[in-house]
């Protein structure tokens, strides 16, 4: 398990008490990242969703039942389980900002990274991308279309980061410390309830830096040691409790 530390750590804080599970983030993500639509997307074992909203239940009967929604992008782990296993360095965590890269032309499609990732954040292209006639005109210039046979995942809309750096250069601003509005992933931008806050976890000027210190903040599967850069927040004990696995005697 190799830990990677960077001066800048792009991260998210997702407030689960605000997420209504509407799905706008998933749609915005697909549009931004040129994910081709699928004719039948009801077989969730074959769909491709960089951002996926899980539905959580407190497993109590009516009327004590409660529901929560949990959007799951790539966790951009500080100690990613996927990176060391890739045989061809098609994925790496080697850039300032800590975003785990995934390079499609390098990927040979062995899917070892998918086996390694406990968050199911990685997806395999079972099919070539096919857009309905004319819809390929709406491809954004941000992400190259992926052929079948390679793995892909959420990149925190990395090209937006590159564009922000470019803008910083053009405007003579430090490319490591530009205004946070310059770089927001599509999901965070679209979220109608503002459940997703995005920024540099290490930068005190950014909201996320404050939010991750909240007693209600937690991360998924922390005890595995993956050290994710995505945080969640909930005031509901049961929601936080479901963020990790616990033994019976560890119950709060």
């Amino acid at each position: 398990m190799t830990h990677h530390e960077f001066k800048v750590k792009w991260g998210m804080v997702i407030d689960l008490d605000k997420c209504t599970g509407c799905g706008a983030c998933m749609v915005a993500c697909q549009v931004e990242n040129n994910v081709a639509p699928m004719n039948d997307a009801s077989n969730k074992l074959r769909t491709l969703t960089w951002m996926l909203v899980y539905e959580l239940s407190n497993h109590k009967d009516f009327p004590e039942h409660e529901t929560a929604f949990l959007p799951r992008p790539c966790m951009q782990c500080g100690a990613p389980s996927c990176v060391p296993v890739c045989p061809v360095v098609a994925t790496d965590k080697n850039e300032e900002g800590g975003i785990v890269s995934q390079i499609y032309p390098r990927c040979i499609g062995c899917r070892y990274c998918m086996a390694a990732c406990p968050y199911h954040a990685r997806y395999f292209n079972w099919l070539d991308p096919v857009f309905p006639k004319g819809m390929d005109k709406t491809l954004t210039p941000e992400v190259s279309p992926r052929p079948r046979g390679v793995v892909e995942k959420c990149s925190f809309c990395h090209t937006r980061l590159n564009n922000a750096r470019q803008r910083a250069r053009a405007e003579d601003v430090d490319p490591l410390d530009f205004p946070v509005e310059w770089y927001q992933p599509a999901c965070a931008e679209a979220c109608p309830t503002g459940a997703i806050t995005f920024g540099d976890l290490n930068n005190p000027k950014h909201e996320v830096n404050r939010l991750i210190k909240s007693p209600y903040a937690f991360r998924l599967l922390e005890r595995l040691g993956t050290d994710p850069q995505v945080y969640y927040m909930s005031r509901r004990d049961w929601v936080r409790y479901q963020g990790d696995n616990h033994l019976a005697h560890e119950k709060h």
């Binding site: 190799t2 074992l45 074959r46 890739c86 990927c107 040979i108 395999f124 696995n245 033994l247 019976a248």
Partner: protein, 409 residues
């Protein structure tokens, strides 16, 4: 028809019958080739693999045959390095079985990756931290070693051996075989270990994750031990199967017993560590990750029975059979122990591949079930058929079994 090609002093079935047999094998090969073509054209969407089960039947199959093919390096090691001379009577077969297993596995691997045309990236852009890189390099190198080990047997074919150059080449290769056996042992040990390591390093997967020694998780060593336990026994089983099929005695039973003894010893060693490992996993690693032992199992398909079968029925039991000389010397127990051991190893490779990724790690996730479809079965069957083909050809035209003439006269 092909009498000129058959080694002197050996009798083989009629050419017509042989062709019929080959045609029978050919059907399976064609079926697999058809599936492979479809897979190359349309991609892996035609398989039963999915987002949860990136690894499935093929990886299980690869791991199993590679473990079973371990007879090649281990017998070679015993024969050429430790100089156990008796094993010369089975080492040829061990090499051929190894060759089949490894080349077959590599064939399946090219199907299994999403971008076969990029397969060579594994060599050109290797990630030194990845166990899979280690596997890729070692498997390829060892496959080459196996080819080198196989070549002398081929060159000893009656007609080829008449060519002086080839004759001397074969002879010279034989004399240097110890070198290759050593090299093979080193490579094979490493990648058997790396295959285990591939799972042990998955720290996000409680079913597979193991701590370990230096850079290697315990599974690294367990896979080596289990392979050397199963490999020799599988070679014995193959030899016996060929005997049943051909109605001839090919290998002296005493050699088989010796192989059984070796396999049994290794199995004991393996089971000793495996049981400790399982206990430590259940009592140490799992709680640390927030899991209980019970949570590792689900319904029948991923039930505990798999674990108990692997450990007790296919582990402890055959180990006992093989370690008691009187039992080992009875063909029934020797072969039964062999079958059980091989089954156990296969179960082990299966659960490490499939159960590992079927297990939900996020508390709100759920178990998923994997069923391989025809497109995965066909190439796997093709590899088995390919093994039969290579064995059939070798048996008919090459001097594989030094004892055959003597045993059948």
């Amino acid at each position: 028809m092909d009498q000129k090609l058959i080694p002197d002093g050996l009798t083989r079935c009629s050419f017509g019958r042989y062709l019929l047999w080959l045609a029978f094998i050919g059907v399976f090969i064609l079926w697999g080739a058809y599936a492979a073509t479809i897979i190359f054209m349309k991609g892996l969407t035609v398989t039963g693999l999915d987002n949860y089960f990136g690894f499935g039947l093929w990886i299980t199959f690869d791991l199993a045959v590679i473990a079973l093919g371990a007879g090649a390096f281990f017998t070679g090691f015993l024969k050429y390095i430790l100089q156990i001379d008796q094993l010369k009577n089975i080492v040829n077969l061990a090499v051929i079985v190894g060759f089949i297993c490894y080349s077959g596995a590599m064939l399946v691997l090219t199907l299994d990756i999403g971008q076969p045309l990029r397969a060579w990236f594994g060599y050109w852009h290797p990630n030194v931290h990845s166990m899979l890189t280690e596997v890729i390099f070692c498997i390829t190198c060892y496959c080459m070693v196996l080819i080198i080990e196989f070549i002398p047997t081929i060159l000893e074919q009656k007609q080829l051996n008449k060519i002086p150059f080839l004759h001397y080449l074969a002879h010279n290769m034989h004399t240097h075989m110890a070198l290759f056996a050593g090299l093979g042992t080193f490579l094979s040990t490493f990648h058997q270990g790396s295959l285990g390591g591939m799972y042990g390093v998955l720290f996000g997967r409680p079913y597979a994750f193991r701590e370990g020694f230096f850079i290697w998780p315990w599974t690294f060593f367990l896979f080596i031990l289990s392979a050397v336990a199963a490999g020799p026994q599988f070679t014995v089983l193959v030899a016996t199967f060929m005997e049943k099929l051909t109605g001839k005695k090919l290998v002296d039973f005493r050699v088989k017993v010796l192989m059984g003894k070796i396999g049994g010893t290794m199995l004991c060693l393996y089971m000793f560590f495996k049981l400790i490992d399982t206990w430590y996993w259940a009592a140490g690693i799992l709680p640390q990750m927030g899991f209980t032992f019970d949570q590792m199992f689900y319904q029948v398909i991923y039930g505990k029975w798999l674990l108990w079968t692997e450990l007790i029925v296919c582990g402890v039991l055959p180990a006992i059979m093989l370690m008691i000389p009187s039992m080992r010397k009875q063909p029934f127990f020797l072969y039964l122990a062999g079958i059980l051991t091989c089954t156990g190893i296969t179960i082990n490779r299966y659960v490490f591949t499939v159960q590992t990724i079927a297990l939900p790690v996020m508390p709100f996730d759920k178990w998923e079930i994997y069923i391989p479809n025809w497109a995965e079965w066909a190439p796997s069957v093709m590899i088995v058929a390919y093994g039969f083909l290579v064995l059939s050809l070798s048996y008919r035209y090459l001097p594989v079994f030094p004892q055959e003439r003597k045993l059948n006269s």
